[in-house]
Amino acid sequence: MHLVYPAVLAALLFSIGLYGVLARRNAVLVLISVELMLNAVNLNLVAFDVWLRDTLRAGQSLTLFTIAVAAAEIGIGLAIVLQVYRNRAGSNVDELRDLAEPPPTPTGAGAGSDAAEADADKAEAAA
């Protein structure tokens, strides 16, 4: 089999994953998109391993390693998403902005950040 098929397929998978990570609002779908990207990499690793006829099978062993890391990652990620959903009744990524820089206010910093949060929530609700 020519190398171009798996390579193109991997590129397509990676692009779909990239789009999903950057554009989807649902945290679960973002995690799925990350999995897509990882698997595109796995496909590349296996395909090049075969094409290069590597005697140590480094590509295949690295693939197994990636699968293990991906399993751990998705476990932690889903646990976080679950907690976020329970705490906030929603898991949209663009609503999780607690680490944003609050706009400078003349009043005290603590009250200012709370007010800014409330403002942001209202704006999103309106949107």
Binding site: V21, L22, L96, L99, A100, E101
Partner: protein, 716 residues
């Protein structure tokens, strides 16, 4: 103990006393007075013992190396030289310092800072004795500078008043202005002569065998003269001395009359061969002395504050000393130094008691209050003795010493010795005779105003129990008449006129007296005039111990009489002094005696006549009538202070403002700008912190793409 050991103890004891006094001051107040008086008294006694043992014979010298200087041939040595001059001046210093310490126990008995004051006076005494005994120029300079800093602290003793603060700074800065060239001169002299030992330098210069000459005698002499002019308050560096009267009167007596100001002249006397090596330096010294003498005597005639009169008088008498040295007569200079030290200390201490008693330093106010002879008879008599000595009336000490100076000047003018310019003799002689008349005039004026005031007051108003009441009641009448006479333009009458316009509030004991207001008003009219600290304290405070003392501590009057003895009789030793001081006879010569005494008598008579005239017109002060057009200038010390203000103070302040502007607006702008720019940059970067993770990742992707493209394109 050997004489040298005793001589070492003389400066050492007051220094130790000063250290102990400073240490004990707060913890053991009971020891402060003994620690102040006893070391100085012991030092004075030891100085007398040293003088008796030395006995005017060949000088004793002793030296031990203090520190190497990097030049093995030029070490700094802790050296003593005990010749007749040194031991006699040390006796004077010790005596006056003891008198001042005793007097201060009474004068400053309620002062909260008496302990540090007494310690500083002791330290000052030690430094002066070191200068007197030292044979090494560098060690002498150490004592010289310690005196300068002690003078700074003591002039600023009443540092609550701005006048005292300004005066102490001025004294320090002006003397330092002279000390910088002085230091350069000492180093130049040391390197040219190959030694810092005064006795060696003098021996080399005077020895007929060695044929040693300085390469640049005029430059060295003029550099040294700058320091001498600063310390001894000679024109043009004399301006600090009248202002230094803001210190306590006892300090004025010690530092600014008898000792520190004499240090400069004493230094010239020790190194006289260096100065006689240059005829130009002698003429400059004579000119300085002449200008100082005549100018200060004129200024003294116009001052209203008794201490300022005495300060200008001191400047003038130091001019006599400098004049005697300009005509190469060390004996006459030291003779006048000794007698002047005694009678000027007496005058200052008497003035202190007078200020204590009257509650004001103003002569006009004293004259209006009157009754000095009745209230403080001891002061009346001792002040009279001191003034007679100052005016050089024949049997008193001032007559003989001033005659010695004038005789030396006449001798140089008519029959100059080799290398001594006759011009210096003429300058000193003419200025000396003129000053003799002026000195008698201001001494007479001082006596008439301070002691004979009741004669000037209309009899109905004269006897009043309280000085303030007596001063305030007669004031409006003479003020009205004199204001009408002079058109109200006169500086002295102006405050009295304002008193007339307002209601004279005699009931309020805290109301400023006419003299005090006069002093304050004069100070307000001209920033260079500083009223005495006593007057400033009186106007600013409730009636306290400083004001209107009916009784003086007996120790103060005792000191006055002790000092009155040498003022009376010291002159009679003129025949015996050349044995100690070297040089020719110091006895009075006929021509100068007749001329100077005649001039003094004329000055006194004219002043008396002017005073009678002024009294009939309702004024008390003969000064304006005597000086005429000169009076305005003389009140301000001929505007030398204003000239310095314009020439030095204003440019320096302008430069300081420029530096402040450059520092605050230019240098600081860069520093502040660095902070502000970083802050703005940080604010801009913070705008990117939206909290949306997907935005960050998009930016990350975009940046990666840009980097990859850059690498690929660069590789292609």
């Amino acid at each position: 103990m050997s004489t040298t050991t005793l001589a070492v103890l003389v400066p050492l004891l007051p220094a130790l006393g000063a250290v102990a006094g400073l240490a004990a001051g707060r913890r053991a107040p009971g020891f402060v007075r003994p620690l102040a008086v006893l070391p100085t008294l012991t030092a004075a006694v030891l100085a007398v013992v040293v003088a008796v043992r030395q006995g005017g014979r060949a000088p004793l010298t002793a030296a031990t190396e203090l520190t190497p200087t990097g030049n093995a041939a030029l070490p700094v040595e802790l050296a003593l030289q005990l010749d007749g001059t040194a031991v006699l001046v040390a006796v004077l210093v010790g005596t006056v310092a003891t008198c001042v310490q005793l007097y201060s126990t009474g004068y400053l008995r309620d002062d909260p800072r008496y302990a540090s004051y007494a310690a500083l006076v002791s330290l000052f005494t030690a430094a002066m004795l070191l200068v007197v005994y030292s044979d090494d120029l560098i060690v002498l300079l150490v004592g010289w500078e310690v005196m300068g800093i002690c003078s700074y602290f003591l002039v600023g003793h009443y540092w609550e008043t701005s006048a005292a603060r300004a005066a102490s700074l001025k004294a320090f800065l002006v003397t330092k202005l002279g000390d910088v060239p002085f230091l350069i001169g000492i180093l130049a002299l040391g390197s040219e002569a190959g030694t810092f030992r005064i006795s060696t330098i003098v021996t080399r210069l005077t020895s007929s065998l060695a044929d040693f000459q300085l390469d640049h005698p005029t430059v060295i002499a003029l550099l040294l003269l700058a320091g001498v002019a600063g310390k001894s308050a000679q024109f043009p560096l004399h301006t600090w001395l009248p202002d230094a009267m803001a210190g306590p009167t006892a300090v004025s007596a010690l530092i600014h009359a008898a000792t520190m100001v004499a240090a400069g002249v004493y230094f010239v006397a020790r190194l006289l061969p260096v100065f006689t090596a240059s005829a130009a330096a002698l003429v400059v010294l004579a000119l300085l002395a002449a200008v100082t003498m005549a100018g200060s005597a004129l200024a003294a005639l116009a001052q209203d504050d008794i201490k300022r009169v005495l300060a200008y008088s001191t400047i003038g008498q130091l001019g006599y000393l400098a004049g005697a040295l300009a005509v190469d007569n060390r004996g006459a200079a030291i003779f006048h130094l000794l007698s002047h030290g005694a009678f000027k200390a007496l005058l200052f201490l008497a003035a202190g008691v007078l200020i204590h008693a009257a509650g004001t330093g103003s002569l006009t106010a004293m004259a209006r209050a009157g009754g000095t002879a009745r209230r403080v008879p001891d002061v009346y008599w001792t002040l009279t003795i001191g003034l007679l000595a100052l005016a050089a009336v024949p049997p008193f000490s001032g007559f003989f010493s001033k005659e010695a100076v004038l005789g030396a000047a006449e001798h140089t003018a008519l029959d100059p010795a080799a290398g001594i310019p006759a011009a210096a003799g003429w300058i000193v002689l003419v200025a000396g005779l003129l000053t003799a008349a002026l000195t008698a005039a201001y001494a007479t004026r001082l006596w008439l105003l301070a002691c004979r005031g009741e004669a000037a007051v209309p009899p109905a108003a004269a006897p009043a129990p309280a000085p303030a009441g007596a001063a305030a009641e007669p004031a409006p009448e003479p003020a009205r008449t004199s204001a009408a006479r002079t058109g109200g333009s006169h500086a002295v009458t102006a405050p009295a006129g304002s008193l007339d316009a307002g209601t004279p509030d005699t009931e309020d004991a805290a109301a400023p007296e006419p003299g005090a207001t006069e002093a304050v008003a004069l100070a307000a009219a001209d920033g260079t005039t500083v009223p005495s600290a006593e007057a400033a304290l009186d106007t600013g405070r409730d009636p306290g111990p400083e004001r209107g003392h009916p009784h003086q501590p007996p120790v103060m009057t005792l000191v006055l009489w002790v000092l009155a003895v040498p003022s009376l009789a010291f002159g009679l030793f003129y025949d015996w002094l050349p044995h100690w001081l070297g040089g020719g006879s110091l006895g009075p010569t006929l021509v100068t005696s007749v001329l100077a005494t005649g001039a003094a008598a004329a000055g006194a008579a004219v002043t008396w006549a002017a005073w009678r005239h002024a009294v009939t017109y309702g004024s008390v002060d003969p000064g304006p009538a005597l000086l005429g057009r000169l009076h305005r200038g003389a009140v301000d010390g001929f505007r030398v202070d204003a000239l310095y203000q314009r020439a030095f103070v204003t440019p320096v302040q302008g430069a300081a403002r420029l530096v402040r502007f450059l520092d605050r607006e230019v240098v600081d702008a860069y520093v502040r700008g660095a902070g502000t720019a970083t802050g703005w940059l940080g604010r801009a970067v913070r705008l990117a912190q939206t909290g949306n993770v997907q935005t960050y990742l998009s930016a990350l992707l975009a940046a990666s793409v840009v980097l990859v493209l850059a690498v690929v394109l660069a590789g292609a």
